[in-house]
């Protein structure tokens, strides 16, 4: 377990609960990138992901008293982040304010660096695939989407995903297989039309 200022998660949490709020900074610094990646997986938008990340840490802080150390703190925190993202998506869908493709510029920049020297057409093609992938991920059924994002964006082991979803590792494996199949179907048409 990674220690922050020589303190474990449990020590940091106990210190926060004793009233030493400043110790919470250590927890935020330790998990912010992981929580952010989960939020990016749901929103594909930097600004929204940062807002959700902040919201997740605030919610975790307020509920810290309820954390009983029965699971890893990260599992508990990721579950809060996932719930915040799902609520956000639900609200965004009802208000129709959700703008897709927020991270496409970032992807574009990264792909430009990685594919330096490759034809511009190829980069445009991958950017289009990225937009279609985002849309396909958003279209996945609830548990498949959560399992896929936790597995691909945060690279969590199936055991941890199973703990978060209150299910078995076998069920998670099935969810991931179905999610991959669903996404492949969605991307197949465009890919086959454009790649000769």
């Amino acid at each position: 377990m990674e220690l922050v200022n020589g303190m474990s998660d449990q020590e940091l949490i106990e210190s926060v609960l004793k009233g030493n709020t400043a110790c919470y900074r250590g927890i935020v610094l330790k998990y912010q990138q992981q929580v952010f990646r989960i939020c990016i997986g749901f929103t594909h938008c930097n600004e929204d992901a940062e807002d959700l990340c902040q919201e997740a840490f605030m919610q975790a802080f307020c509920s810290l008293k309820g954390f009983k150390f029965q699971s890893a703190f990260s599992t508990w925190l990721y579950r809060i982040a996932v719930n915040a993202c799902l609520n956000f998506k639900r609200k965004a869908a009802s208000h129709k304010t959700y703008l897709q493709g927020g991270t496409l510029d970032e992807i574009d920049r990264t792909l430009n660096i990685k594919h330096a020297g490759r034809a511009d057409d190829y980069i445009v093609f991958e950017k289009e695939i990225a937009a279609r992938l985002h849309s396909a991920i958003a279209g996945l059924p609830g548990k498949q989407r959560v399992a896929f994002i936790l597995s691909r964006y945060e690279k969590l082991p199936q055991k941890e995903i199973a703990a978060m979803l209150d299910t078995t590792t076998g069920a998670v494996e099935q969810l991931l297989q179905r999610a991959n199949e669903h996404l492949r179907k969605k991307l197949r048409g465009f890919y086959e039309e454009n790649v000769k």
Binding site: V16, L17, K18, G19, T21, A22, Y24, R25, V28, L29, Q32, Q33, F36, R37, I40, G41, H44, N46, E50, C53, Q54, F57, M58, F61, C62, S63, L64, K65, T103, E106, I107, T110, L111, K114, E126, I129, A130, L133, R152, Y153, N180, L183, R184, L187, R188, Y191, E192, E193, V195, K196
Partner: protein, 106 residues
Amino acid sequence: MKELENKEFEELIGRIIEAEREIPVDPLLAERVMTTLLREPEKRPVSPFYVRLFPYFVKAACIVAALVSGVYLGTLSPAGGGYQDNSGQLALHDGYIEGLDVLLNE
């Protein structure tokens, strides 16, 4: 036309997701969280000791107030203007005695 094989699919989405995974979080996020937490103390999971002890302070103050007022009221005479001495007998205050003297002298 080229079919999207499993391997190509994995590579394709792997590259896209990896590009998103590389996006760094705002380094000021922790500062923002901490500023919000310190600005909104009601969101703290535990209150400072003086907030936690506040109900006890109130109870203690009420008990003291009740005792003081009880003692004070207990010393007042039900006849109005008098008070009870330690023996519990009604005693007359100076003003009443002075008035009595005036009447007797008349």
